[in-house]
Symmetry: C2
Subunit: 329 residues, 2 copies
Amino acid sequence: MKKDEITLIKYIRERFPLSETIGVGIGDDAAVLKLKENTILTTDLMIEDIHFDLSYTSFYHLGFKIVSVNVSDIYAMGGDFKGFLFSLGIPQTISDDEFSELFDGIKDALNYYDGFLIGGDLSRSQKIILSGFAVGETEKPILRKGAQPGDFIFITSFLGLSSAGLNLLKNLSEDSKKIIRSIRNFKKSPDKILNIEGVNEVLERHLMPVARKPDKFKHLAKAMMDISDGLLIDLYRLCEENNIGAEIYIEKIPIHPTLISVANYLNTDIMRFILSGGEDYELIIVSDKLEAQNFNLIPIGKITDQKGIYLIDPHKGKIPAKPEGWQHF
Amino acid sequence: MKKDEITLIKYIRERFPLSETIGVGIGDDAAVLKLKENTILTTDLMIEDIHFDLSYTSFYHLGFKIVSVNVSDIYAMGGDFKGFLFSLGIPQTISDDEFSELFDGIKDALNYYDGFLIGGDLSRSQKIILSGFAVGETEKPILRKGAQPGDFIFITSFLGLSSAGLNLLKNLSEDSKKIIRSIRNFKKSPDKILNIEGVNEVLERHLMPVARKPDKFKHLAKAMMDISDGLLIDLYRLCEENNIGAEIYIEKIPIHPTLISVANYLNTDIMRFILSGGEDYELIIVSDKLEAQNFNLIPIGKITDQKGIYLIDPHKGKIPAKPEGWQHF
């Protein structure tokens, strides 16, 4: 890419206009937003070869995902997403098409979540670096803290899909990887990779995850967090925050049918995907109200006095669980 | 470093506690702050071998600087700095001492600016990546937009020091670089490198710049920005924002005495440091009130109808200036 910084910022700014009633966006020293009582702030970093692999990930996917992973943290606090700042490190070898694809992905995600790109920074770097920063607002934040013994633990949907998708992607042929890179809408694309039915859903969940908005049930939540690193490790973190423990009823955890096919194909333990696979961006909700089930929340366990996470298996009984998951070191 | 992520986050969280009256800090999905009407948001990225060189930069310097460069953008909007989020990519080869040095620098800078570390992200990476996000608040933001023909252009202090410091640092012996890396307080350290009097001030300005708070004079500003990439390029950006131009009176720009010694030593044009050297983090203030001088602001030019930046030299007359400076591509 031969464009200079001023040209690139001009391009980004023109693609992401901000109405003056909302605030000040790209192009000043900093952005300005008018927000409700509580400002919610979060940041997530994605680095080439650590968090993603360009052999099967397109720049469009990256743009979409860096928004989703940040928005997920805003939603996990019970907040409304408002604005996104985006710092980008890229090699000069990136093409103009790749650059605009990246911003296509950001734009589509921002449209989906109804938020605005309001700022960022741009730099050369050897590897691609995406650093996202999301801002939201809420009248009442829902923290990890607040869970008590006896409370029910709910999740929003199937787990392990992203992790299954990642493991499949790593094992694809170069030709299949190329096809995957070209897909922007997995729901509308032929679902034929490896002859696994429903495979697009697991690939999409890894490449273009969507954050879950808890609006309909957040009034029931005493504590909440998103599952970014894996159910066990994230639940462990929530429990540590409250100085409590949890029991998970293995048979209560729903298993997505495609996960069975993927686990068979890869000859892997399906529970590893479900319990320790990261990046699903589903939510863990702790509530003392079983009526949460009316909002499609799935009860999978209970908060206990006893510290530690235990799996309750109908055959094997109570097993202490290791809080494994995606650790960044 | 052999510590896992949970241990590292615990270490950071314990060093940077946040009182609950302020909000929610490190350890939840996102941070929560209660802010005034206008939330100010900014981000700046620093990447190893692009923005800094570890041969003469310590981890302490890096920590201090990543806070300063972000706070500078908040101040340049007329805002009060409140919170800092910090995403870090580091190789596993980093030592525990280097890791805590980095956070010493962040802590000292946050104490200086009276703000809190409220969140972040942590990842492995080949090169060191520092991605800072600063949050502030203000009742009335001061934008780049607002300058009009006839307005005066002021700067807050000497320019070119950081750039002179950078050029010196690149030319030091390995032994001198090592000494520089060990300095945390340049004001209290012997000022003897290369026998240039006052050299510590230019080195400090590059390694540990301090953001200028415009509190005393911001009521006079119609437009404001910080000088991060160089006077000419940043003034050009401000002018473009207003569809106007500017004249700079060369003889009005103050020259720091140490700059003369450094330019002599390096056999460089002193005006290059002053006009196009970046990272001084002084402010450009546009005001129609000459009384701004009473606040130690230095008038260096005027806003004009005619677009473009012109230098007015007492000997050579009016010269069109190229808006050169630090461009990131």
